[in-house]
């Protein structure tokens, strides 16, 4: 288990498909970007039929929930074509290029939360204002704020969010003499991430052979930082990651986990990580809403019912990941595209996507719908995920975003991985991280 890699920072989308990302980069290298020809926005044809194009990345879940087909049924003159790039890190540079040149843009474009601030700051003009189309008040307030400019322009409608929880293996906890009940586990870690590490030490004492307490310290780091209002940037836009309390706390916890050998040091979504889930050697995973589906997929039927979900450590709620749908101003069907965005991000549709692929709605209206409210995950011992996540989502603080959040997170994650994997001293690792980050910001 020595492969080093860190994707934890960016988002689930970049991360989820890290392996597919391999293929994507491969395609990029051989120059077959198979989709660039069909992605551009085109006006209505002679019969008034419109093809709306949606460019996104990873798994937005619309196709899986059958929403594009349904929209076509409701509006027979409109066909929706989705153009998915597996890896967000391949998607975004191309998207920027298209924004710069104004050509090849789809009618609707996905934006990852790690990028949204950069676009809000520098490219707001390139997007149609959604303020008059959607009712931003329907969204959890911090989500809506992320895509709103200072003068009130809304460049994107929130799709999903990643409220945190803690996924753990009941059977391994029992074998290690720990409580397996989700309330009891939540109580054990109620004091925060320090408690989580203490529980880890307890686990390690009687841990089943070959298992690790957590999959990756950088995932824990992400959760810790995410629960802070101030993360990498101050409100005035200054990068403050070097003095940020959240970053420091997360870093120290990660260093401690590495030093105490509580972590398997796996880079999430890479093959070795998937293999560890498959073999069942990981006892806990810091669990944004979308992570549950990943675990179920990779761990497989063998562990069905052996996983469970407890409330995330500590009192403060946290969000990790999530995306937006935006309408480029230069598209040929701006109005129709806005209508589709409104429809796709409405409570019913978000609930349908949640049901299909497990990404959690950002539209509060969806929390009252039965698909969400009474959602239970059989795989996770029937954990009431709808309840857990909805409770969490509404108290998440409105975090200050910065233009380079994603890359800063990645640089730090890389060094956390070095601490876990190579035993790099925390001071050296921190120095390397800050050097890398200064290069990013500079």
């Amino acid at each position: 288990m020595r492969i080093t890699r860190t994707v934890t920072g960016r988002s689930r989308r970049a991360a989820v498909l890290a392996t597919t990302g391999l293929t994507a980069s491969a395609l990029l290298l051989t120059g077959c970007s198979s989709d660039s020809d069909q992605s551009g926005s085109t006006g209505p044809d002679a019969n008034g039929n419109i093809t709306l194009t949606v460019a996104d990345f990873g798994q937005f879940g619309y196709k899986e929930a059958g929403l594009f087909a349904k929209y076509h049924e409701l509006h027979p003159n409109i066909t929706v074509k989705e153009n998915v790039t597996a890896d967000e890190q391949v998607y975004y540079p191309k998207f920027l290029q298209q924004l710069n040149t104004g050509s090849g843009l789809a009618d609707i474009q996905g934006i990852e939360v790690g990028r949204v601030k950069e676009l809000v700051d520098t490219k707001a003009d390139a997007f149609a204002d959604l303020a008059g189309v959607i009712d931003a008040g329907q969204w959890v307030n911090w989500k809506a704020l992320q895509a709103t400019t200072d003068d009130g322009k809304v460049i994107g409608a929130g799709t999903d969010i990643g409220p945190m929880s803690l996924c753990y293996r009941r059977d391994l906890f029992e074998q290690a003499g720990l409580p397996a009940d989700r309330e009891e586990v939540a109580a054990k870690v109620a004091g925060g991430w320090d408690d989580y590490l203490k529980l880890g030490e307890e686990y390690r004492k009687k841990a089943p052979k070959g298992t690790f307490y957590m999959d990756s310290a950088s995932a824990m780091y992400n959760s810790v930082v995410s629960s802070n209002e101030e993360q990498y940037y101050a409100k005035d836009g200054k990068a403050i990651y070097k003095d940020s309390a959240g970053v420091k706390a997360g870093w120290n916890l990660a260093a401690e986990a590495a030093a105490k050998d509580l972590t398997a040091g796996l880079a999430q979504f890479q093959d070795p990580w998937k293999a560890a889930l498959r073999k069942g050697t990981v006892a806990t995973v810091a669990c944004p809403a979308w992570m549950a589906a990943q675990i179920a997929t990779y761990a497989g039927d063998e562990f069905k019912g052996k996983w469970d979900i407890a409330r995330t450590p500590g009192e403060t709620a946290a969000n990790w990941g999530g995306s937006f749908l935006a309408v480029p101003a230069k598209g040929k069907n701006v109005e129709e595209a806005q209508k589709l965005v409104k429809w796709l991000t409405a409570p019913e549709q978000q609930a349908a996507v949640f049901k299909a692929v497990g990404v959690f709605p950002s539209n509060k209206g969806a929390y009252e719908l039965p698909e969400v409210k009474s959602a239970k995950l059989a795989y996770f011992n029937n954990a009431p995920i709808g309840e857990i996540y909805a409770a969490e989502a509404q108290v998440i603080p409105a975090a200050v975003l910065g233009p380079k959040d994603g890359i800063i997170k990645d640089s730090i994650s890389t060094q956390i991985n070095n601490m876990e994997q190579r035993g790099t001293a925390p001071d050296d690792a921190w120095k390397a991280a800050t050097e890398a980050i200064d290069k990013v910001i500079g």
């Binding site: 288990m1 290298l29 051989t30 390397a432």
Partner: protein, 332 residues
């Protein structure tokens, strides 16, 4: 080769051309002026497409890259350029990561080029014997070259994987323990050079083979009459005759290793691949450029890296030329 083509100035001198019919003097003057124009201009017209294409896709990007290198340009706003002069260059020259990348590129270049060319020479020598189904073998050694970098790198990434990789499985089986190939400084570089060697050896072998077949066979006959063994023939006849070809392959391989990109990018893939390993242990100059431009979005320094790479190549070419000249002098 070019000596047997007849001069074109004399119409009718070429065999097979029709003798022009007599015509009026005015018309004849016009014709001959047209002839002369055609003679002078058409070669340029014939080669023009290449130069137009080269100008659009080679020269212009080259110069524009130089222009960008002197500006502050961000991926997010390509339209905003701010003059910064040499700042980008001084920035990358002061970046330890740049020098790591230079070192890595050099080391990987050497440990892939040298064995590759030696093996290629040996293979070519073997293929030069009278073999059964020689075409088949020649095709076989060229097959790796026909695969794409990406697929080769992806397959080798599986071979070199730390956990459950083919190589580690084999090493484990014979009791040698396992290595985390991508994680180590030397092991990762070796892994990459293995991919390069695998892909390019056959290509170079074919070039050598072609050159070997141009060596007059009486040289070998004379040598064997003098009692030279196969090995002595190889050393004293083949190698000297191949010297220009070897020089050519060295130049090509040097350029190739300077551009090494796909293999390091895909060895681990994702974010880690894009920065050449967690500790940049196998980051080459191209990967460094890619990371600066496409991941960090700072196009100015990325362009500066591109020009620095060009400068390095020119430097290597100059050294090559100097060495070549002194070798020729001493052997003369």
């Amino acid at each position: 080769m070019a000596t047997s083509i007849p001069a074109r100035g004399a119409p009718g001198s070429k065999p097979g051309r029709r003798v022009p019919k007599p015509m009026s003097p005015g018309r004849q003057a016009w014709r001959s002026r047209l002839w002369r124009f055609d003679d002078k201009a058409s070669p340029y017209a014939y080669i023009a497409p290449f130069f137009l294409v080269f100008g659009a896709f080679g020269l212009y990007p080259l110069l524009y890259t130089g222009w960008i290198a002197l500006h502050r340009v961000e991926m997010i706003s390509l339209d905003r350029m701010e003059w910064v002069g040499w700042e980008n260059f001084s920035r990358i020259l002061q970046d330890p990561e740049f020098w790591t990348a230079v070192g890595n590129t050099f080391v990987i270049g050497v440990i892939s080029t040298v064995p590759q060319l030696l093996v290629a020479l040996g293979l070519a020598h073997l293929l030069n014997y009278k073999l059964r189904a020689s075409t088949f073998w020649r095709t076989v050694i060229l097959t790796p070259y026909a695969t794409s970098v990406a697929s080769a790198a992806l397959v080798f990434a599986l071979v070199f994987r730390a956990d459950g990789g083919l190589l580690n499985w084999a090493l484990d089986f014979i009791g040698l323990g396992d290595t985390n190939w991508a994680n180590g400084h030397w092991s990762s570089k070796s892994a990459i050079s293995v991919i390069v060697i695998w892909r390019w050896t056959g290509y170079n072998a074919l070039i050598y083979l072609a050159a070997m077949q141009a060596v007059p066979s009486d040289l070998y006959e004379a040598a064997s009459l003098d009692g030279a063994s196969r090995w002595q023939q190889f050393r004293n006849v083949t190698i000297p005759a191949l010297r220009p070809t070897i020089l050519f392959t060295i130049v090509i391989s040097t350029i190739g290793s300077m551009q090494l990109f796909g293999e390091p990018l895909l060895l681990e893939g994702g974010t880690i691949g894009a920065q050449g390993g967690n500790e940049h242990q196998y980051e080459t100059l191209s990967v460094y450029l890619y990371n600066y431009g496409w991941k960090l979005g700072h196009l100015g320094p990325a362009a500066a890296v591109a020009w620095a790479m060009l400068a390095l190549l020119l430097l290597i070419a100059a050294i090559n030329w100097l060495v070549g000249r002194s070798v020729r002098k001493t052997s003369a």
